[in-house]
């Protein structure tokens, strides 16, 4: 690989990593609050990706409204999932494994809804959703889609940091992530906090779904990319959102380089092997707080 090519791959990797970071953070917010791995997040992402697709292909909306529609859809679907699937288990004070099993079931259910509506083919976002495809700087040609994904991710993260650092909702979510009982003893309605967490998580999931759909292609199984969010959450340390985001970007970079060197067949093998090795060496993640019970 020459320098130009490496630089190109770095940009590709960063943009892919940024989308993974959005997925991973949306995933990790629920892990932090309810202490289980919410694979239904993949379903939220998938439905939002198709919502964005419909908005752009049927209604010819432009890029920013499409992203916003994805975001709103994500929030609504995430809250619905909580309402339909998790609420009852919460009320019964069910074990974590029930949440986990339910979340995987919800992922499959939402996928099937997409199969019924769209068939199991590949779709793509309209070609002219992003008009200019490449910016050329000397020999370097940079994909505008990737740059825009990167920019949207940065904006979304800015919003997230603002909410978590500066608003009552963010503070309440952080407190509930730490200790649900104490939080409610301080006068915070933890039922509302959980809904707020699903809204924020769903918004992140919705944006990531649209971006991932635009930069790759759409199939009803698109939600399974949530596994990348899961990997990044584990690598980053499930307690720390910053750690998770950093791990996700690293994952994106590694993946792009692996695909360009050993090909897309072997790359997941190497990544999962790395993950297992990492779990053995440092189960609490890069920046991790360790949870004693997670499912």
């Amino acid at each position: 690989m020459d320098l130009i090519e490496i630089f190109q791959q770095v940009i590709n990797g960063l943009s892919r990593g940024a989308i993974y970071a959005l997925i991973a953070v949306g995933f990790a917010i629920i892990v932090n609050v309810l202490k289980f791995s919410n694979f239904a997040h993949g379903g939220v992402l998938g439905i939002s990706a198709y919502a964005g697709y419909l908005a752009s292909s049927q209604f010819n909306l432009s890029f920013i409204p499409v992203v916003l529609i994805g975001m709103v859809t994500g929030a609504i679907v995430a809250v619905l999932v909580e309402f339909i699937a998790f609420r009852w288990i919460r009320m019964q004070k069910g074990q974590l494994v029930y949440f986990f099993v339910t979340s995987v079931t919800m992922l499959m259910l939402l996928e099937q809804i997409l199969v019924i509506r769209f068939g199991s083919f590949f779709d793509t976002y309209p070609y002219d959703l992003i008009k200019v495809k490449f910016i050329n700087i000397g020999e370097l040609s940079i994909s505008v889609t990737y740059l825009i994904s990167l920019a949207v991710t940065i904006v979304a993260f800015g919003l997230l940091i603002y909410v978590f650092k500066k608003t009552k909702i963010g503070i309440a979510i952080r407190a509930a992530s730490n200790d649900m009982t104490t939080t409610s003893l301080m006068g915070i309605n933890t039922g509302m906090v959980i809904i707020a967490a699903f809204v924020v998580s769903g918004m992140m999931g919705g944006i990531s779904g649209v971006l991932f759909g635009i930069s790759t292609s759409l199939s009803p199984q698109i939600g399974q990319v949530v596994v990348k969010g899961f990997i990044a959450s584990v690598l980053g340390g499930l307690g720390s959102l910053t750690g998770v985001a950093v791990a996700a970007v690293a994952l994106g970079l590694i993946e792009v380089f692996l695909v360009s060197t050993i090909g897309s067949g072997y790359s997941p093998v190497v990544i999962f092997a790395l993950m297992i090795a990492f779990l053995l060496l440092r189960p609490q993640g890069f920046a991790g707080v360790s949870f004693t019970d997670k499912a």
Binding site: L159, Y162, V163, K166, T167, K168, I169, I171, A172, R174, A175, N178, D179, T181, T182, T183, S184, L185, M186, G187, I188, N189, T190, A196, V199, G239, S240, V289
Partner: protein
């Protein structure tokens, strides 16, 4: 009694076969400090947990201003005006002192989630108010200099103060203090007693204090309940308690022998 705030009747809690609290009755009036004393395992914290709504009593009732709050959720009880601290300090990880105190105050700000997204001037105004008010509570427990430090990195004695500030931030009428003296040295205990007395007067609070240390309880409380193995074996003024043969036998006697 006109100014009675809190009344518990026949409060009983069983955990499986163990009876942690057996038929506890008591009252707390406005502007009063009462204490519950007893050795470890006497059921003191269990009583506070029931009052604050962590779990419901097996039988018995809790009244606050004549309203039955026995089955209320913890945040509802807090909204009515009952706040608490914890024996084993329960601060939030990765939060500054200021953020910790904000948690208990900020839910009052009347702005909606949608407004948050647009960071409207209203939101900013309320958030500024929350911050100022929280700083005020931090100042009350003399922690102004530590407001930006990570709450859990502070020394134990100061962490207690953070907890007290957080409890004050929900602007309670009744403050429940669960062993505030636990793990503190003599100087820290003296400062703490000073602080509690000052808050009691300045904020005209009503305080229910739990401790197994005689010095804290005797200095502060005007009325004391003595718990032993889940049962209330005696109650009275500090002088009465100190001279009660049953109490001396069950509790003080041990201490004197140990010393």
């Amino acid at each position: 009694m006109g100014n009675e705030l809190l009344r518990v009747e026949n409060l009983t809690k069983r955990f499986g076969g163990l009876c942690a609290v057996d038929c506890f009755c008591g009252t707390l009036e406005a502007n009063q400090i009462k204490g519950i004393i007893g050795p470890n395992g006497a059921g003191k914290t269990t009583i506070l947990n029931m009052i604050s709504g962590v779990y419901p009593p097996t039988t018995g009732q809790i009244f606050y201003k004549d309203q039955d709050i026995t089955k209320f959720q913890p945040h509802k009880i807090n909204h009515l005006g009952i706040a608490r601290t914890f024996q084993n300090i329960r601060l939030f990880q990765n939060m500054t002192v200021l953020e910790t105190v904000k948690t208990a105050y900020s839910w009052r700000a009347p702005y909606s989630a949608i407004e948050t997204l647009f960071s409207s001037p209203r939101v900013q105004k309320f958030e500024r108010e929350i911050e100022e008010k929280s700083m005020h509570f931090i100042d009350m427990v003399n922690l102004k200099d530590c407001a930006k430090s990570n709450a859990q990195s502070l020394p134990y004695g100061l962490q207690r103060r953070v907890e007290i500030a957080r409890a004050l931030a929900s602007e309670p009428t009744v403050l429940l203090l669960d062993e505030p003296g636990a793990g503190l040295n003599q100087t820290e205990v003296r400062d703490l007693v000073e602080l509690i007395r000052r808050l009691f007067i300045d904020l005209s609070l009503s305080i229910l204090l739990i401790d197994h240390r005689m010095d804290v309880i005797m200095q502060l409380c005007e009325w004391i309940y003595v718990q032993d193995f889940g049962e209330c074996i005696s109650q009275g003024t500090p002088e009465q308690i100190q001279n009660d043969p049953i109490v001396i036998k069950a509790y003080l006697g041990e201490e004197i022998n140990n010393a």
